[in-house]
C-alpha cells in the first residue's frame, strides 16, 4: 500500500480529468484504471455555477479521492489563494501545488514552489509539489513541510517519457522513505513501467490516457504497466552490463571437433 499523508492507497496510478472526449469516457477510464485519486482544477465560472456543478457532481459520483491542483498559477500568491479556494470547494487539505515558471516548457518555478509550499504547509495543507528532478529543490520542499514529491520526467503533455533516468534514479536513492510520484511527461505505458521499475511509488497521468485513441483501453494498459513495473522493482531488476554472460552453463558442453 502507498501511504500519502497517512492515507493508505492501493492503486499507484493517479489520473487527471482534462481533455477526455466526453464525461462518459472519463468516467469509464477512471473506473477501468482502478485509480483512487483524480486531479481537478478550479476555473472562473461562466454559467452561474452550472458548468462547475455538473462536473462536481460527476467527480463525486466516481467515489474517488480528489487531489485539487493549482494548475496554471505563475506566482506564489496566486497559487496560495487558489489552494485555499480549492480547499473551500473540495473539503480536503490535499493540494497538488503547481507554480509555473516558463510558458514553453511549463517548468516549475522552483523558488516560488518552495515558498508557496512553506506557506501552505503552515496553513495545514498536505502539499503534493509538482517539481523538477533537482535534489536540492527536493530537499527544500521537504524542509518546507512536503511529505510527498512529484517530480516531472518530461514537460507536461509532451509524452516524451523519462528524459533523465540518472536524475530520477538519484532522487529515488536520495529519498528512500519519501513517496515519489512521477508527474508529467509520461506518454506510453512503457514509460510508466520504466519509472516504476526504478522504484518510484506512483505515476500521475492525464494526456496520455485522455488523448489516446481509446482512453478506456489505455487506462487499463497503464494500470497493468504500473503494476508490472512495481512488481519488477520488488523482484529485483537485473542491472545492465557491458559484456555477455552465457545463460546456459558451459560445463558439460559437448565437443564435436
Amino acid at each position: 500500500m502507498l501511504n500519502l499523508y497517512g492515507t493508505e492507497i492501493a492503486s499507484r496510478l493517479l489520473l487527471g480529468t482534462a481533455r477526455y472526449p466526453s464525461p462518459a469516457i472519463l468516467t469509464e477510464a477512471v473506473k477501468r484504471s482502478g485509480t483512487e485519486i483524480v486531479t481537478v482544477s478550479l476555473r472562473r465560472e461562466t454559467a452561474g455555477g452550472r458548468n462547475g456543478g455538473a462536473f462536481f457532481e460527476m467527480i463525486r459520483a466516481l467515489g474517488v479521492r480528489v487531489l485539487p491542483n493549482t494548475a496554471g498559477c505563475h506566482g506564489v500568491s496566486e497559487a496560495v489563494l487558489t489552494a485555499k479556494m480549492a480547499r473551500e470547494v473540495f473539503q480536503t487539505n490535499w493540494i497538488k501545488l503547481e507554480v509555473i515558471g516558463n510558458h514553453d516548457t511549463l517548468q516549475p518555478d522552483v523558488f516560488g514552489l518552495v515558498e508557496a509550499a512553506h506557506v501552505l504547509a503552515g496553513e495545514g495543507f498536505e502539499v503534493f509539489p509538482y517539481t523538477t528532478d533537482d535534489l536540492v529543490v527536493a530537499e527544500r520542499l521537504i524542509d518546507a513541510g512536503c511529505k510527498v514529491l512529484m517530480p516531472w520526467c518530461a514537460p507536461i503533455g509532451s509524452a516524451a517519457g523519462p528524459l533523465n533516468l540518472s536524475a530520477l534514479r538519484a532522487m529515488r536513492a536520495h529519498f528512500p522513505d519519501v513517496p515519489l510520484i512521477v508527474d508529467a511527461g509520461i506518454g506510453r505505458p512503457s514509460h510508466a513501467a520504466t519509472v516504476m521499475e526504478l522504484g518510484f511509488d506512483a505515476v500521475l497521468l492525464n494526456t496520455a490516457v485522455a488523448s489516446a485513441g481509446d482512453p478506456v483501453a489505455m487506462a487499463d494498459a497503464f494500470a497493468k504497466a504500473i503494476e508490472a513495473g512495481r512488481q519488477a522493482f520488488g523482484a529485483g531488476v537485473l542491472e545492465p552490463r557491458d559484456l555477455a554472460v552465457p545463460s546456459t552453463p558451459v560445463i558439460g558442453k559437448a565437443v564435436f571437433a
Binding site: 477526455y20 486531479t39 478550479l42 465560472e45 455555477g49 479556494m85 473551500e88 473540495f90 507536461i156 485522455a210
Partner: protein
C-alpha cells in the same frame, strides 16, 4: 457600483458578496469566492460588504491534470 467580476467590469447594485452572487445567478455549494485576492469563506459571504472597484473571483471545479 462598479465591480470587477471574474475579470469583467460589472455595474451592479449588490452591497454584499452574497447579494452579488444572487443577482448574477451564481448558485451552488461548489463555488469558491475571493475578493481583492483574499478568500471569502462561504459562511462569510452574507456579511462581506463590497466596495467600488472590488475585484471578485468566483471559481468552480473544472477538469484538470
Amino acid at each position: 457600483m462598479r465591480l470587477i467580476v471574474n475579470g469583467e467590469p460589472q455595474d451592479i447594485t449588490a452591497k454584499t458578496l452574497s447579494e452579488l452572487l444572487t443577482l448574477m445567478e451564481y448558485e451552488g455549494e461548489w463555488l469558491a469566492t475571493a475578493v481583492n485576492g483574499e478568500l471569502v469563506h462561504r459562511e462569510d459571504r452574507v456579511g462581506h460588504a463590497l466596495h467600488e472597484n472590488d475585484r471578485i473571483e468566483v471559481l468552480t471545479p473544472m477538469q484538470g491534470g
